[in-house]
Each structure stands twice: as structure tokens, then as C-alpha cells.
């Protein structure tokens, strides 16, 4: 076996020499490299990174904003749901029979209190020593249970309408929750995709040594 094939030493084989001559015509003739104008490894690397970065950050920002929007929506829906639940609980509590004084008695009690206060107030205003100071006093607020009961909804209405409302609300809420969960899953998948692409892009910068 000739060593010419390995290191060009010794007598060349005829066919090896022919192949060298024939294929040597395809040999590379180095031509001047067309380097970027601002030749610097660091500058080239930085320009490469700045070209890559906006695209990656754009995608990440879009994914993050989408996720934040969905989270905000979820929070709003959940808080609304909590408010409804609390209101229902309060209404159910009010439906329960409680001992309440008759409206006539309540009104009489309020009237008596108001009259007593009016008397004291006018006496205080008439007194010269305290008149200036008393002028600034306001009559205390008296809780009028009769008025409060009147403004409150009738107990019969509470037992019929809200039950239907609760049934429809829970159905709507269930649908909304399912839609929300689906949207969250989609957003999460997109976010993961964007993150994976970023990781792959950054892995492309890693050394390729063997």
C-alpha cells in the first residue's frame, strides 16, 4: 500500500495521481471575504443579538399581555361571583323569621325619641352660655327601623324570584368559568411556545464544540 495516498510521500500510484489532477480543477480558490464594514467580533455579535432580540421580546410581550388580560378577567368574574354569593346568603338570612316589633310601636318609639331630643335641643339653644357652641350641634341620627323595613324587599318576593335567578346565574357562571379555563389553557400553551422558542433561539448561540 502506497503512502502517497496518505501523506504524499513515496511513489504515487497512477490512478491516484490522475484523480488528483482531475479533481484538483475543482479546488477552492480563496476569494476575499466580504466582511461587514464595522469589523469586530463583538460588534458583529451584538448586531446579531439586537436583530434577534426585538422579535423574541415582541412575542413574549404579546403572550404576557394576553395572559394578564385573561387573569384580570378571571379575577373580575370571580369577585362578581363572590359578591353574588354573599348577597344570596344575606337575603336567605333575612328570609328567616325573626321577632320584629310591630311597625306602629316602632314609629311611636321614634317619635318619642325625636320629641325628647327637640326639647333638649331648643332648651340648649335658649341658654346664653352655650348658645354659640350648641348652634354647631346636630341632632343625632336615629335609626328608623320602620323606614328600613319599608325600603327592604318584600319577603315573599325573595322566596320566589331569587331562586330562579340563582339557577340561571350558576348556569351562566359555569359556562363562563369553562370558557375562562379554556382561554387560560390556550394562553398558557402560547406562552410556553414563546418561551420554548426563546430557549431554542438562545441555545443556538451556545458553543458547538465536540
Amino acid at each position: 500500500m502506497s503512502d502517497y495516498l496518505w501523506d504524499k510521500s513515496g511513489e504515487p500510484d497512477e490512478d491516484v495521481k490522475q484523480l488528483e489532477q482531475l479533481l484538483g480543477a475543482l479546488r477552492y480558490e480563496p476569494r476575499p471575504l466580504q466582511l461587514p464594514e464595522d469589523f469586530s467580533a463583538r460588534a458583529a455579535r451584538n448586531s446579531f443579538r439586537t436583530q434577534q432580540r426585538p422579535f423574541q421580546w415582541q412575542r413574549l410581550a404579546v403572550a404576557a399581555s394576553l395572559l394578564l388580560t385573561l387573569l384580570a378577567g378571571a379575577w373580575l368574574i370571580m369577585s362578581q361571583h363572590n359578591i353574588e354569593v354573599r348577597r344570596e346568603a344575606a337575603e336567605q338570612k333575612n328570609v328567616a323569621p325573626t321577632k320584629v316589633a310591630a311597625p306602629q310601636e316602632q314609629a311611636a318609639h321614634v317619635n318619642r325619641a325625636n320629641e325628647e331630643f327637640a326639647k333638649e335641643f331648643s332648651a340648649a339653644q335658649a341658654h346664653p352660655a352655650v348658645s354659640k357652641r350648641v348652634n354647631y350641634l346636630r341632632p343625632p341620627r336615629v335609626f328608623n327601623r320602620a323606614r328600613a323595613n319599608a325600603t327592604r324587599r318584600a319577603p315573599q318576593a325573595l322566596t320566589t324570584e331569587p331562586q330562579a335567578q340563582v339557577a340561571t346565574m350558576t348556569e351562566q357562571q359555569r359556562e363562563a368559568t369553562q370558557q375562562l379555563l379554556l382561554a387560560l389553557r390556550i394562553a398558557s400553551a402560547k406562552f410556553n411556545d414563546a418561551r420554548r422558542e426563546m430557549q431554542e433561539a438562545s441555545a443556538g448561540h451556545k458553543p458547538e464544540t465536540r
Binding site: 496518505w6 490512478d15 482531475l22 480543477a25 475543482l26 477552492y28 466582511l35 460588534a43 451556545k206 464544540t209
Partner: protein
């Protein structure tokens, strides 16, 4: 692959290689200095790396992509090197690192041309200088992958076996075995089924 390397090691053990392979020992410090200089922005150092390694890059590409595309891809590879040279941890392994970038670039070329439409060879920018040379090159490309690169680097680029081993970072014994086996296969193909010279 194991068989080839094992045979190569065996050849090394029985001493069929009288010529000492000194290239890797002498080139590594030079490469390290050049790589460091390029990292500092030295244009001349990059030119020197280009002249030292452009033949290897050309040969590796020629084993994989059409002749007309090789010259542009060589430029692409060196621009990639310029961009990524800071990520090379071991400057002594510049040659193997460059060879890997070149092979990746060739794969990338095929991936992109598959996505788009492939032009017929008649429309290539550069026609091969000799039709006969192109035929032999086509025969080499039909050989197993392990033989293609060393044969092209040996016959087209005119590199010696030790030089190929030093530049690509492959074991000299493996390169030696692959060149000889590839040459044997090429002879058979050139002679054709009838035993005639191609």
C-alpha cells in the same frame, strides 16, 4: 463506524503509519492565538484563519451541496464563525468547531431548498469547470458518508491525511482507514461492473 475506528486504532498499533502526525501539536497554539486576536477584532487574524481553513470548509461543503453553491456557502460559514466566535470555549478546538458549523450549514441548505423549489443543475450560477471531474465527484458523493469528506479533502483540496486529521479533529487512524477504504470503493466504481476504466 465502530468497525472503522477500531481498524484505524489497530493500524496505528501495528505501526503502518511511518510518518509522525505533528500537525495538531504545532497548530493548536497558533489557532488559540488567532482566535483570541479575532475576538479582539483583529482583521488580519481572521484573514489568516480563513486562508488556513477555507479549503477544509470548501471540501466539507462539496461533499454535501452542489458545486455552484459551495463558494457562497463558504462565505456564509465564515461570517457565522465571526458572529459566534465568542461562544467557542476551547480555542484549541477551533477546527472541529468550524467543521461542525460547516456540516450544520450544509444541512440547513438542504432543509431550506426542500422548503422552496429546487433549481435544475442547468440553471446553477457556476457550471463545474470540467464535466469529467464533475462525474467523478458525483461518484464520490455516492460513497458512504464517512469516506466522502476525506476523499474530497484529499483529492479536490489537495490536503494530506495528517492535515485532514489535524484540521477536522478526527483521529488520524480513522482518517487513514477511511481514505484507503474510500479509494478502494472509488476504484471499483470507476472501473464499473465490466471492470473497465470509467
Amino acid at each position: 463506524m465502530y468497525k472503522v475506528e477500531a481498524t484505524g486504532d489497530l493500524l496505528g498499533m501495528i505501526g503502518t503509519s511511518p510518518t509522525p502526525v505533528a500537525a495538531p501539536m504545532t497548530e493548536a497554539p497558533v489557532e488559540v492565538a488567532l482566535v483570541e486576536a479575532v475576538r479582539g477584532g483583529d482583521h488580519a487574524a481572521f484573514d489568516r484563519l480563513y486562508h488556513n481553513y477555507s479549503r477544509m470548509v470548501h471540501g466539507i461543503l462539496l461533499a454535501r451541496v452542489p458545486y455552484g453553491e459551495v463558494d457562497d456557502l463558504v462565505q456564509d460559514v465564515f461570517l457565522t464563525v465571526l458572529r459566534k466566535i465568542d461562544s467557542l470555549r476551547d480555542a484549541e478546538r477551533f477546527g472541529p468547531w468550524l467543521a461542525m458549523i460547516t456540516r450544520n450549514r450544509a444541512m440547513d441548505y438542504h432543509r431550506r431548498t426542500r422548503e422552496t423549489s429546487e433549481l435544475p443543475d442547468t440553471l446553477a450560477h457556476h457550471a463545474p469547470p470540467q464535466a469529467e471531474a464533475n462525474e467523478v465527484l458525483a461518484l464520490i458523493r455516492e460513497l458512504p458518508e464517512a469516506y466522502r469528506e476525506p476523499l474530497i479533502l484529499r483529492f479536490v483540496e489537495g490536503m494530506t491525511g495528517p492535515e485532514i486529521a489535524a484540521r477536522t479533529g478526527l483521529a488520524p487512524a480513522s482518517v487513514r482507514v477511511n481514505i484507503h477504504r474510500g479509494m478502494k470503493l472509488l476504484r471499483e466504481r470507476l472501473q464499473g461492473p465490466g471492470g473497465k476504466e470509467h
